[in-house]
Subunit: 190 residues, 2 copies
Amino acid sequence: MKLLEERILKDGIVLKGDVLKVGSFLNQQLDVPFLCEACKEFYRLYKDAGVTKILTIEASGIAIAALTAQYFGVPVVFAKKSKSDNIAADVYSGRVVSYTHGNEAQAIVSKEYISKEDRLLLIDDFLARGSALEALLAIAGQAGAAVVGAGIAIEKAYQGGGDALRAAGLRIESLARIASMDEEKGIVFC
Amino acid sequence: MKLLEERILKDGIVLKGDVLKVGSFLNQQLDVPFLCEACKEFYRLYKDAGVTKILTIEASGIAIAALTAQYFGVPVVFAKKSKSDNIAADVYSGRVVSYTHGNEAQAIVSKEYISKEDRLLLIDDFLARGSALEALLAIAGQAGAAVVGAGIAIEKAYQGGGDALRAAGLRIESLARIASMDEEKGIVFC
């Protein structure tokens, strides 16, 4: 999506440690009128997929999931992150590793909010190694729900998580796919 | 707002420890088409207030803040919660006490995202003793930004936080105000 690529080039900042800072429009500050245009694109891509619910993970996925859900006319369920390894009996869960922050957590969703009748669209702001998507897939699998695909704002394609999940059969639509990223040479899109 | 009161009576569950569970439509699962109607009400109430930005706090405030912001055509800034007491020099911060969860945290916002030119609308899902709003007011104050008021989905009016802040001069618009709440007697609105 040209619009998002241009915005990343204009306002994204490449930091040490393979971090793309997009806090001015996608995380911490959310440029909502701009994000609505991005979210309409998710609707255009998945509008015929029979989506019944959007599944995302707190915190930065929530805004784009909610803005996208209004075009589908469906609810959002967001997985909460818990540092505890004690998983209650009434939740579905999946392990999330954050390579950026060097920590891990459990993503958990109450069983009452996803059922085997659901057709889920997974939404998240970033896809790198794919850990968050894998956790959401695990949660969907435990619920017996179908996953129609994933909608991602920014994919760090060079980290391979997206392609590995595509090879495993998941449909992934990323609005911007970064082929390489470097503090000096800048950002190159796929 | 009649619509929200009816929904709370239909789907809200009063639990021990003064907890109102609204996870099926406002937290964990978000009934986005329904929430859009609630957020339009915030717009109707504040549309002439010259709002330049909406300020909220993660995680459950983000969805209604983002859905509201689209009607105003403005960005959202969300405060992150940090358990650490080490506050970096480049952030504004305020202390948040959660009486429900029995813990406290620092709400922090990077200085680059709020300025003294801003006219902020504070948005949150719940208002009880007012700790989260006080933290957001502290952040706004440090930035020198004006606060036009607050938009709250559910106010536990009997806890007094809202009235104390109103007495201090803050405009607060709550879509549903609970006068009393009890596991057996149920919910009574103001």
